[in-house]
Chain length 564, copies 2
Amino acid sequence: MTTSKKIIVIGGSAAGPKAAARARRMDEFAEITMFQKGPDLSMASCGFPYYVGGFFDDRNKLLCTPTGVVRDPNFYWNAKGIVCKINTEVTKIDRAKKQIEYKDLLTGETGTQGYDKLVIATGATANMPPIPGINLDGITTLQSMQDADYLRKIRDEKKIQKAVVIGGGLIGIETLEALHLAGIELTMIELLPQLLTFLDWKMAKLVENYLKSKANVVTKNGVSEFIGEHGKLTGVKLQNGTEIPCKLAVVAIGVRPRVDLAKAAGLEIGKLGGIIVNEYMQTSDPDIYAAGDCCEIPNLITGKNVLAPYGDLANLEGRAAGENIIKGNVATFPGTIQTGVCKIFDYGVGITGLSEAKAIDADIDYVKAVNASPDKPGFMDGKLLFTKLVAEQKTGRILGAQCLGPGDVSKQLAIWATAIKGKLTVDDMVNADLPYAPPFSLAIDHSIATAHILQNKMHGLFDGISALDLKTMLDSGEDLYILDVRGADEYEQTRLGVGETLIPLGVLRKRINELPADKNKTIVTYCKISLRGYEAAMLIKAHGYTNVKVMEGGIAGWPFEKEK
Amino acid sequence: MTTSKKIIVIGGSAAGPKAAARARRMDEFAEITMFQKGPDLSMASCGFPYYVGGFFDDRNKLLCTPTGVVRDPNFYWNAKGIVCKINTEVTKIDRAKKQIEYKDLLTGETGTQGYDKLVIATGATANMPPIPGINLDGITTLQSMQDADYLRKIRDEKKIQKAVVIGGGLIGIETLEALHLAGIELTMIELLPQLLTFLDWKMAKLVENYLKSKANVVTKNGVSEFIGEHGKLTGVKLQNGTEIPCKLAVVAIGVRPRVDLAKAAGLEIGKLGGIIVNEYMQTSDPDIYAAGDCCEIPNLITGKNVLAPYGDLANLEGRAAGENIIKGNVATFPGTIQTGVCKIFDYGVGITGLSEAKAIDADIDYVKAVNASPDKPGFMDGKLLFTKLVAEQKTGRILGAQCLGPGDVSKQLAIWATAIKGKLTVDDMVNADLPYAPPFSLAIDHSIATAHILQNKMHGLFDGISALDLKTMLDSGEDLYILDVRGADEYEQTRLGVGETLIPLGVLRKRINELPADKNKTIVTYCKISLRGYEAAMLIKAHGYTNVKVMEGGIAGWPFEKEK
């Protein structure tokens, strides 16, 4: 009989437990030990904002199996035969001796333990701004179970009226929603010119406009100082001098890979600060694997390494690592297309693949289109979705999709993520055979309609213009003929107010001679979502106009002020 | 100047209007005429059950544009420059003269009209059983706006207490729901041994079990006679002699392509009774195209022609036909993977690609797995989903997925439909990068978990056994050791009651010696959804047992009677 294999996993959040459990299923007799610095194991940390926000009240739900058993060391030992050492920090990886050194943080005891194979799943550390006052009471992140408890207590006590959230990324926005639901008046502070920087500007601006109905939003402005009295936060001072009084500040300005152990052990660290792994999740030491937020992984479209600290990827990486440490390198994790989604009150918002900005960065020739249309028929209470689709110009291969709105965003993103995985083109998606019934989608699904629009554009049927480009042209005083082809009733309700002319599509054929005499003049058409705008453009072009553009996304996607 | 092109479209429901509108966008000056036998145009016929069921009250919503304009001949002329002749039947296609003959059904007037290109979009006819009493008052289909009006009136008048729905397909089930919501006591009658014949038996059985909580369900039994008094329906007599009193019977036993005109014109008709078209939707006459339910189209997996009367495909086919009649054959519609979905009260249910039965029919070596797990975390009120995934054995290429349950079925099907389109394999889907956040999915999405299960099976990590196979083995008295590894509390609530032994997973390692001494004995493990059942099987196999099987789908997917 051979000796059983000794496995050590460092980190007990997502990638670690997955690797340990997968290893156990591959080898019932391996000795598997998982070290966790904190007291909790396998916390559903992506669920923290929903616990804080009161979507549910039982804290244990974040720590339990679906049947209600808390995932503590007892559970891991009984159900999975895995030894868990919690409140225990691994202080050193000694590659020569193939052992780790650890310290029990409660008792102070130290020890060593040998391994045949090691998995590093040390996760990420929240960034904190290096500014005065950072240690005041009332400043927190939302990264640990303890942070969640702290914020949940604030919610339940209802003593705090004003708070700021610093950072307009996914976590910042989810935290903002949670605290808003607690009745707290919020200000979001973002250093950059837009929130959710994984989105292109206009898409982020639509989110910001929506968010402003719930909270104050400050962009292009960072926090220069936390102000306090008696050690407690009383406000934040912005870089432009403004002071915002608040008793709570949640910092959510991103995370960085936690690689101290790996670095000290001499493992290869990448340019982005993450542990370098191959497709088997193996580090530069063949006996050491790594998984989760502490790693760099390749973007499958650009081929370049990225940091992608997502819980779903951590699990998939952990699964591959857990199989490979037992069976040798058989399971691969090829990389990411950086799919991300979040809920923002009644909106969903997310992206899969490349934004336009990233396509430009990657020096890819691309085409793009915007579709604003509902997820379901009006009679089934369909909700609006905005999708921006980016494809490779030459091949039509889908590169990325951004989607937001009150409609079913996650389904749209799932479709595009799978399409990107399958290297599908715009032409493929034009005839996708998706599940259709009125409770679930339009007869032509929003995703397919988006492909239709981009295909029409690629075939030269129409030229699009973005709201931003139109605004820029208007602001610079260009001589344009702006044509709103909606109904008079719609025009009465809301309009751009940029000097547009109203000619409803239904009378445009009769009134075609009201258009400018100069057939080379730039004409921009639109309607609510620019479907009628597109039909109008086709009609106008057929009458010899050479420079007709459709404003993509229509008035519904206009991110600037409107009249009325 | 050239003469403008003359286009005729026969049929004004889905494919016809789409073809006409697309043709208009391709050519502003073509003369386009659309003939419609009935009074309504572009009806959202898939929405009829939801109008009948009271999801909305305004009938016009079925006939309106999203901005509330009724799609009548006036609208088509003003907004699209398309002449619509409603209540007008096309009686003949004269291919030699390139003209059609028509008759105004209100005035009786007849006429002819020439075409350069013709599109046939005559749809399908509802099948009616050729049995006595079929013409009694109270027997209807739900195919036309008039049928919808008739059934909605019945709902609103609340005079009918009992009704039967004949046919357990998509339309039958949607109609059943609609009438149930009207407070009518319902019986569904299906001639075949299962409802929803596009599903495999067990999946259909799970739907049937759920449906039985809402209505009576009779299978393996057809209607032999409609019974009436004074010309009005009073009941139906079944083939086994049973009589069911009812004043309303909705017939939903499928549709057949309406091809009389095409056949009389000598166009090629396929073995399944549909018009034969090429990938450009062109019939055997190069100047005549066809689109929608009247056509046969290829199944993209088997390559064989099928009838696929779905509203979404009708639109896509119409779009291709509409472009090609103007521009020559440039747009293709490659075929279908027969994706279908329907809502059944709080369940969704559907399929994309091949069922196991169809894979067998197509003589494909396949593998399969069942996954029962929630769509979202428990703390976000996740709902159960059952997915059965079928893949090609040799390549792992995804062939089909069936999904049902209270969870988000349509998203799952959309993912699989896109995966099939992209020819993705099980290994590809194992590392899919889908949008994850707790409001939308589990960290490992249900679809990815399904791929994990099938990959594990393909790698020989475990053997599955279907509930049906297990039941058959039990009924034939085979000597099995059935092991339930759930908790004692779960066992108290509900159990199979087939002589199983309970050993919770958490104590299985300690009690492993309680298993049969004979290491070759067949052991079947399960839990609620068979995730713990899988872990138990791995553990047991590691102890030398050679014949361990996991019951796929767990007790949640057991379609037979349970104890308690």
